[in-house]
C-alpha cells in the first residue's frame, strides 16, 4: 500500500501519473527489507553502535592531554617561582590554568567535537570536569584569602576525584587508578605539607591523571 504524504513532489505539468509515480518512489524509498535474517539484524545493530562509539572515542583523550599539558606547564612554572623567590603570591598563578585552558580548549577542541550528536557518556564526563572546574575555582578563590599555600593540595585532590570518576564512567582502569593515585597523593601531600613540595607533586599528578591516560586513550582508539 502506498500512502501519499506529500513529501515527494514530482513536477508534471499535466498531473497525469503523478500518484503512481509517487507510489513507486515511496515504495523504493521505504525499501522494506523484511527478509533480513536474525544474524543480519544483529549485525546491523552492532555495526551502528560500534560506528557511533568509534566516532566518539576517536579523539576522547585529546582534551585530557591538552588540560594536562596546561596544568603541567603552570605547576612547573609556579614551583620554580616559589622555589626561587619564596613569595607565596605566586600561588595566584593557579588561576592561569582555567584562564588559559578554557579559551585554548574552545579553539583547539572545537574541530574535534562530534557534530550533530550527543552521547550520554561524553556528556557525563563533560559535566564531571565542569564540576571540577567550578569547585577548584571556588576552593582556590576562598583559600587565596586564607591560606594560598593550600590551593595546590586541594585542587590536586579534586583533580584526582574528577579523573577517578572519569575512569569509572569510561570503565577505564588506567584512568581510574591514575585518578586515585592523584587524589591520595593530594591527601598525603596535605598531611606532609611542610616536607613535601606540593607544587611539584601537582605536575606529576597532571602527567599521571591526565596526560598519560589521554595518550593511551587516543592510541587505543586509533
Amino acid at each position: 500500500m502506498c500512502r501519499h504524504r506529500g513529501t515527494i513532489l514530482p513536477i508534471f505539468p499535466s498531473g497525469r501519473g503523478v500518484g503512481k509515480l509517487k507510489c513507486l518512489i515511496l515504495n523504493y524509498l521505504e525499501m522494506e527489507t523484511n527478509e533480513m535474517t536474525p544474524e543480519q539484524s544483529l549485525q546491523v545493530i552492532s555495526d551502528a553502535i560500534a560506528k557511533s562509539r568509534k566516532d566518539f572515542e576517536r579523539n576522547a583523550g585529546t582534551p585530557m592531554i591538552l588540560w594536562g599539558a596546561i596544568v603541567l606547564v603552570f605547576s612547573v612554572v609556579i614551583w620554580l617561582l616559589l622555589r626561587t623567590t619564596d613569595n607565596l603570591l605566586w600561588n595566584f598563578l593557579w588561576f592561569g590554568i582555567p584562564l588559559t585552558g578554557w579559551p585554548l580548549s574552545h579553539i583547539y577542541l572545537k574541530d574535534k567535537e562530534i557534530k550533530g550528536a550527543r552521547n550520554f557518556v561524553n556528556d557525563t564526563i563533560g559535566q564531571i570536569w565542569i564540576g571540577y572546574g567550578i569547585f577548584a575555582l571556588l576552593t582556590a578563590g576562598a583559600l587565596s584569602f586564607i591560606a594560598a599555600e593550600y590551593i595546590g593540595v586541594i585542587t590536586m585532590t579534586l583533580l584526582g576525584y574528577a579523573a577517578a570518576m572519569t575512569g569509572m564512567v569510561l570503565k577505564n582502569r588506567f584512568i581510574t587508578i591514575g585518578g586515585f593515585i592523584t587524589g591520595i597523593g593530594g591527601v598525603v601531600a596535605l598531611c606532609m605539607f611542610r616536607t613535601c613540595d606540593v607544587t611539584l607533586a601537582f605536575s606529576v599528578a597532571s602527567v599521571v591523571s591526565l596526560i598519560l591516560p589521554g595518550i593511551m586513550m587516543n592510541r587505543n582508539n586509533r
Partner: protein, 93 residues
C-alpha cells in the same frame, strides 16, 4: 517458540537509526544520514515512520540560519527495541 519480530524495526535503515539513537542521547538528521550511510530521502521516510509509531521524537530547530532536525528515542521506542532484541535472541538460541 519464536517471538514475533516488530516489522517496524525489521528494516535495515530503521534498525540502524534506532540502534544509533539507543546509543546516543540525541542525533541530528545529518549525523544519522552520514553514520547510517543513507540517502536524505530514504532517511526522511524512515524517520517519519518511526516518529508516527512514537518510537522517536523529532524536533525541528534552527542552528543560526540553518534548519536542524534532532531525533531522540522515546521510552516507547526503547521498549520496542528491547523487545526486538529479545525476539532476535529467541531465533538465535
Amino acid at each position: 517458540m519464536f517471538k514475533k519480530l516488530d516489522p517496524l524495526l525489521h528494516s535495515e535503515l530503521r534498525l540502524a537509526v534506532m540502534s544509533l539513537l539507543v546509543e546516543l542521547e540525541e542525533a541530528d538528521f545529518v549525523y544519522l544520514r552520514e553514520t547510517a550511510n543513507a540517502t536524505a530521502g530514504n532517511l526522511s521516510v524512515q524517520l517519519d515512520k518511526l516518529s508516527e509509531a512514537g518510537y522517536i521524537s523529532v524536533e525541528k530547530t534552527f542552528e543560526g540560519k540553518k534548519p536542524r532536525t534532532i531525533c531522540r528515542i522515546t521510552p516507547v521506542g526503547l521498549n520496542a527495541f528491547e523487545n526486538y532484541v529479545d525476539a532476535l535472541k529467541s531465533y538465535l538460541k
